[in-house]
Amino acid sequence: MFYREAGQYKTSYEADQATFPVLQDRIGMIVILAVAFVVVPLTMSSFVINSVLIPFLIFSLAAIGLNLLLGYAGQLSLGTGAFMGVGAYACYKLTTIFPDANIILLIIVSGFASAAIGTVFGLPSLRIKGFYLMVGTLAAQFFLSWCFIRIPWLYNNNVSGAIEVPTRAVFGIPVSGPNATPVTRYLIVLTIVVVMTWIASNLVRGRIGRMWMAVRDMDIAAELIGIRLPRTKLLAFAVSSFYCGVAGAMMVFLWLGAAEPDAFNINRSFLILFMIIIGGLGSLIGSFIGAAFIWGLPIMLKSVPETFGISIGSATLEHLQFMVVGALIIFFLIVEPHGLARLWQIAKQKLRVWPFPY
């Protein structure tokens, strides 16, 4: 009744090809952005912003990065954690070399370092496919993790082997380091994520995205219709690593404030992979839903007993949370193997014919 595009006539190609052709979608998006940019900073506690929302946004961006590679271009990769690490270490080195440069700019620039490394490790994709490629990217994961530990230059010869984020200010407002307020960091992360998501959404429905999808669906056919495979695959690796690199740099500079090499290990790669499997392969909104599910749900589950005034030992709570999240993952994969994004699509379809389904 409310969600129907009947009567919304498109009179130009621009209107027809808009990111959100349906009026209700546009309104919904404006409301979400308004809530995210205005309501959240004004109302949420620093715990929610710091421990739930900032990491959720950062992981969403990393999930988008992997989704571009895996969901759109069909290249299996397990190097996400390492590519995030490249972004983080690149940003750390850059801000050490150029302490006065704008840190937000450096975060974006460090994405290019990650893109370069990602392209190099994408080279095996020209010869191998599927699970074999995954093993190839696994090599990237281990090799880069090794670099983060063994090359002292990367962490400025710190005794602890960890990178510690210095205070950096933009226009006099501290953005990174202990003095940066959660709200400042949240707004920066949000802006970067929104802009990059918008870019990604245009990328995947344009020429490049169609090339990626053609390669994903059948690379021989794609080659026959004139798509240059090497270029397309490497581009997918570069763009994907760029997104992951920016997410990694944000993770250290705008969220954690310090990171050990262990923060970018294989588990991180798996975490992001699970996010897009649960959220939905080849779907941008799925990346967000997946990140919310994998990252947000456990934290929320942990605060449930407290809200109801039940006191449970911290370890029991942890075990309960593992069990519940595990059960939910299986539950959702059974009811919808195509991920939560597909559920969202079905819900939209139902809403369209509501209240008179046929």
Binding site: F47, N156, A258, A315, E318, F331
Partner: protein, 441 residues
């Protein structure tokens, strides 16, 4: 479809419930404990958490808290994971804790810059950043009674003694097996310096978190390199594995020395009689014979108010947890004395720590006579660089194997000052100390 709707509704309900954090009553002192009873480090984490929790509970039961004010205790599970630890910190911060115990070097490193901003002192008892012993640069961080660097110098002193003089180390090979992370890497610069000074050779055997339970590769290398001594910086599941592997390759156990975090009963016990002779540093007494620990038995464990099994009370890491809580309780008591307030804040407790002094007589008064060496913290020296002793596994329990060993302060201090200065210069905009120094109460 109905099931799907139900799932969606559940998810929505969850989202709503997460954003409420109950307010904390102000008539108590809030001491959160970042503990880990799950994951690969639980073997070490559980006794520590039990010890810390039980001592504070005992103060609540026996004395009605500290200075008449109840202690509100809350554990937050970190799983030794830095991200989760920071999440815990953010969550607990809202309830105004008076002190934070990260119990992980990684989490400590992440929290050090935040301490001064949030005005919550950090007690990283004999772990964390060695350089944070410098109170002038790190007014909010406390790491008594000794740093990792002190510990390493004590181990080398002990080795020197056994070899018949520290100069006898010349030409020998000493192996260092360590947890690949901030914790295990910290002693390496000092080890390298000492190797140069005394002319011995070092071999490094890093163990990453993933291969903690499978160290055959490292110990194969040990067998090939044949070091005269092995030093270990291990934690969690790494310790018992290393002890077992060392026994398997027939490494002489009385030449295998661990730091104080590698000396839990459960670290040596799995190897049983084969671990006989294994040495570790220690700074607290082992056993349940101390009056204060008997009080814990009486007021907490026997009443079923603890998660501790009765036979685990008095084990080494349990007592380490007790010692950790004693330091906090004493600092709070000090803070109450200095400020005259009962419900103290984090800022007051920081002052309490800076004037902390536990003499042998005071240890006795607490009910822990001869439990630990006298301990003193000052404004400039947040560590004290106190002595520790060597304990040895006799096949079933730990026995004291040496007198108190003092650290080589002349070797440690220059490195510490340099590291502290370096940390502060690298972190541009590091705040200068503005906190005034209290006279000892």
């Amino acid at each position: 479809m109905r099931i799907k709707m139900f799932g969606a509704a559940c998810a929505m309900a969850l989202v709503g419930s997460a954003f409420a954090i109950p307010a904390q009553a102000q008539d108590s002192i809030f001491i959160p404990l970042l503990s880990y009873r799950t994951g690969p480090f639980a073997g070490s984490g559980i006794p520590i958490a039990n010890g810390m929790n039980d001592y504070l509970s005992m103060l609540n039961e026996r004395d009605g808290g500290i200075g008449g004010v109840k202690i509100a205790i809350e554990e937050c599970e970190t799983g030794y994971d830095t991200n989760k630890g920071l999440e815990c910190y953010e969550k607990l911060k809202a309830k105004k804790p008076v002190v934070i115990n990260p119990y992980s070097t990684g989490i400590t490193l992440g929290l050090i810059p935040k301490a001064a901003v949030d005005k919550i002192p950090i007690l990283s008892m004999a772990y964390g950043l060695s350089a944070s012993a410098d109170g002038n640069n790190f007014p909010w961080i406390f790491n008594p009674p000794a740093t990792y660097w002190d510990g390493l110098s004590m181990i080398l002193k002990y080795i020197g003694e056994k070899e018949g003089g520290i100069d006898k180390l010349k030409g020998k090979t000493i192996g260092y097996i360590f947890f690949e992370g901030g914790y295990g890497r910290e002693p390496i610069p000092l080890l390298e310096n000492l190797a140069k000074d005394f002319g011995f050779e070092i071999k490094l055997y890093p163990v990453t978190a993933q291969e903690m339970q499978n160290q055959s590769a490292q110990w194969l290398n040990v067998r090939r390199d044949r070091p005269a001594w092995m030093i270990m910086w291990g934690w969690g599941a790494m310790n018992p594995t290393a002890v077992k592997e060392a026994a398997k390759i027939n490494f002489p156990m009385d030449k295998f020395v661990g730091v104080w975090w590698s000396g839990g009963e459960d670290d040596a016990r799995p190897a049983g009689a084969d671990a006989k002779g294994y040495l570790t540093l220690n700074m607290n007494g082992v056993g349940a014979q101390y009056p204060a620990i008997q009080d814990i038995m009486k007021h907490v464990v026997d009443k079923g108010k603890s998660q501790t099994a009765k036979d685990k009370v008095g084990e080494n890491l349990y007592n380490r947890g007790v010692m950790n809580s004693v330091l906090m309780a004493e600092a709070v008591l000090n803070a109450q004395k200095i400020t005259g307030r009962k419900a103290v804040t984090g800022e007051d407790v920081r002052r309490g720590f800076e004037t902390l002094e536990i003499s042998a007589a005071r240890w006795k008064e607490i009910g822990l006579g001869d439990f630990a060496g006298p301990l003193k913290v000052t404004c400039a020296n947040h560590n004290g660089h106190h002595a520790a002793y060597m304990q040895q596994w006799d096949g079933t329990k730990w026995v004291k194997a040496s007198d108190w060993i003092t650290p080589m302060t002349d070797k440690v201090q220059p490195l510490l000052t340099a590291a502290s200065t370096e940390y502060v210069t690298k972190a541009t905009g590091w705040p200068k100390r503005t906190e005034a120094c209290d006279k000892a109460s």
